[in-house]
């Protein structure tokens, strides 16, 4: 269950990153449409909130918040690396 919290964080940051024109262009060669941008932004924040809920549900409030913060930090770093080295795993 803890892993699911991390994956929601990862998904959340991935969506937030893709809602930015710069990173959307990295993968899809064009900026996102306005509606897509809004969906990705909201979806990203919702996923991060869900990740918080999952962490607290599993580990209690105090440790849950600490764990969620840790997952957020790792997820942000991971998404940045995935975007930087997209040529390894992404075929445009």
């Amino acid at each position: 269950m803890a892993a699911s919290s991390f994956f929601f964080s990862l998904a959340g940051f991935a969506m937030l990153a893709l809602s930015m024109a710069r990173h959307h262009r990295d993968l899809f060669a064009r900026a996102p449409a306005r509606s897509l941008e809004i969906i990705l932004r909201c979806g990203g924040w919702v996923a991060i909130a869900v990740s918080l809920g999952l962490s607290i549900a599993v580990a209690g409030t105090a440790i849950g918040i600490v764990q969620w913060t840790a997952f957020l930090m790792m997820a942000a770093f991971f998404v940045a690396l995935l975007l930087t080295y997209k040529d390894i795993w992404w075929r445009a």
């Binding site: 990153a17 600490v66 790792m74 930087t84």
Partner: protein, 606 residues
């Protein structure tokens, strides 16, 4: 503001790098202990609390019979599965005794273990350095932590595109890449950086900010701590008639029934063998972050449950506790602890990239200057040299003669001698080759550790993996991986060292050569560092004086928050339009505050 970030980071960066690397290793100090004491048995049986505690008690009854109190620390998940016991003497001159007991026999292990400080030395070094007297050393580290806090805040302020560049990293572009890496490491792990700096400062709260308890209570914070954390300072343990001790097993049973989510962590017996004996059972603390744990107190004579409640702490005390708990990370399970280690290395890497960035920005204009070359030598000798020194510590553990006098201290001497050698080496090598050579040496020093282990002990991979001892095997494997990573970096650097780099980044290379500029900077620095501290101390004293209810809690709050206020003062001083204005502001606010403090203090004293 950028100036403050750069220079606070540079001047203390090498010490900060040392603090963060040794601090990160502290999270795995028990695992390091195990590897450095190969004479200890491999994977020993853990046993349940109900088996191990009575054995420990009988050992204590024999060896600490007339002690004032006994303490039993039960095996954590990650140590030797040994019980640590100690007893404190009744008479002031008596010896405090301690022992490590095997969990199965209840007796000390008979294997003769080599004299070593293990991972504990890293823990001590990261806040009290080495070779420097303790009181001075902790204040140097405190200054560094404070500078880092200021650097973090100014870094955020100066990072104009913090949201746009949140996920951005552009490798292979020289100075741009170093800046991107520094930013990414800083921003992605920002909560950790801020937490670890602030909590580190709060760990020595009244050492670094003594104003409030010194002026209001006239002590070093003892009274504030006693009033805020009552359970840690039990009342005087009086002499009372002797009495048999009630059996411990029902007490443990009650504990496990009432705390199903946690494990028994420690047992303390106050006034053992007397009618007023108390047995305090504390949990391991895996279900909460704070250090203050809900303990259960039983009567030692009758076995009755006396108290099962967490002492009510003020919010200030709870926050203090939470911060210490976050810094120490004792609550963390394996996943979170791995994260702590990664985050700690991310902080170290952030500092390292910052140091390298400083040289990358100024190389074109200042490559010949003595100051520049000194910084570059220090960079190479620290960023590549400190890992080599740490590897040397492990090499010394395996190679120093077992019956050597002061062996434990010589292991540490070897570490610092190696570091000194690595600092000297870059002086006569060109930077590119020095980087390559030291990184290559680091690769060998770590990569060959498992081989050295196999040649000098029988706790090598061929023995530890089949036995399932993943702590020992993990150490060897991680050393191997670290060696490979260093080798990969070194090889990449070699390819670049052979070709001339034509990449130029048009950035502003700051160079302050004007004497007037230097005086202005010096003036602001004195204003910020010295007078800023005075101003912060005034604030710390003023708030509790103005709010005398719950004064201890307010003193805790104002002192904990003071570090951010100090950082803000530093930033304001460097943001002011001129040094004169900065001084006017500081004096203009300090003077009336001083008068106010004097009035309030004499008012309470009267």
């Amino acid at each position: 503001m950028a100036w403050l970030h750069t220079w606070a980071g540079l001047v203390l960066g090498w010490v900060l790098f040392f603090v963060f690397v040794t601090g990160t290793l502290s999270y795995v100090r028990f695992e390091i202990d195990r590897w450095m004491m190969p004479e200890k048995p491999m994977v020993s049986p853990a046993g349940t609390a109900r088996d191990t505690v009575p054995r420990a008690l009988s050992y204590l009854a024999e060896h600490g019979a007339d002690a004032q109190s006994w303490t039993i620390i039960l095996p954590r998940r990650r140590t030797y599965e040994e019980i640590v016991v100690w007893w404190s003497p009744r008479s002031p001159g008596g010896e405090r005794g301690s022992a490590s007991l095997n969990a199965e026999t209840g007796l000390p292990d008979t294997a003769k273990v080599r004299d070593t400080g293990g991972g504990g030395h890293f823990f001590e070094m990261h806040y009290s350095l080495h070779y420097i007297p303790y009181e001075t050393a902790i204040r140097i580290v405190g200054l560094c932590a404070m500078a880092m806090l200021a650097a973090l805040i100014t870094g955020i302020v100066v990072h104009k595109k913090i949201f746009r560049d949140f996920f951005t990293f552009r490798p292979g572009k020289g100075q741009r890449s170093w800046l991107d890496a520094h930013n990414l490491l800083g921003v992605a792990a920002l909560p950790f950086h801020v937490m670890i700096c602030w909590s580190g400062l709060v760990l020595f709260l009244f050492t670094y900010m003594p104003a409030a308890p010194a002026l209001i209570h006239g002590d070093n914070g003892e009274r504030v701590m006693e009033e805020s954390f009552p359970s840690f300072f039990p009342g005087a343990l009086l002499m009372a008639p002797a009495s048999a001790t009630a059996p411990i097993s029902p007490m443990i049973e009650t504990f496990e029934r009432r705390r199903p989510m946690d494990m028994l962590g420690s047992v303390t017996v106050n006034a053992p063998g007397q009618t007023n004996a108390e047995v305090i059972l504390r949990p391991m603390g895996h279900e909460q972050v704070s250090l203050e744990h809900d303990s259960m107190t039983f009567s030692g004579a009758t076995g009755a449950l006396l108290r099962d409640a967490r002492p009510a702490l003020s919010t200030a005390a709870q926050t203090h506790d939470m911060l210490l708990g976050l810094h120490m990370g004792d609550f963390a399970g394996p996943v979170l602890r791995a994260f702590y280690v990664l985050a700690g290395f991310a902080s170290s890497a952030m500092i390292a990239t910052g140091l390298v960035l400083w040289t990358a920005k100024r190389r074109q204009k200042q490559a010949a200057h003595l100051g520049f070359r000194l910084v570059e030598a220090l960079n190479i000798g620290t960023i590549a040299g400190l890992p080599i020194a740490i590897a040397a510590y492990f090499w010394a553990n395996r190679l120093l003669p077992l019956n050597m006098a002061d062996r434990e201290h010589w292991e540490v001497h070897v570490m610092f001698l190696a570091w000194a050698a690595m600092l000297i080496w870059p002086i006569w090598r060109s930077p590119r080759w020095a980087w390559f050579e030291l990184l290559g040496l680091a690769a060998l020093a770590f990569g060959l550790l498992p081989v050295l282990n196999a040649l000098t002990t029988d706790r090598h991979l061929a023995a530890t993996i089949p036995a399932g001892d993943w702590v020992l095997a993990g150490f060897d494997l991680i050393a191997l991986v670290v060696g490979i990573v260093f080798a990969a970096i070194a090889i990449r650097l070699r390819r670049r060292a052979a070709t001339v780099s034509a990449r130029r980044f048009e950035g502003r290379a700051a160079s302050n050569t004007d004497v007037r500029d230097r005086l202005s900077v010096a003036s602001r620095t004195v204003a910020g560092v010295a007078s800023g501290y005075v101003l912060t101390s005034l604030f710390v004293v003023l708030v509790p004086l103005a709010l005398p209810q719950m004064q201890s809690a307010t003193m805790l709050w104002s002192s904990m928050v003071s570090f951010f206020l100090y950082a803000a003062t530093l930033m304001a001083v460097f943001h002011a339009r001129s040094p004169t204005r900065a001084w006017l502001w500081i004096i203009g606010t300090s003077a009336p505050l001083t008068m106010l403090v004097v009035i309030l203090l004499s008012g309470t004293a009267a």
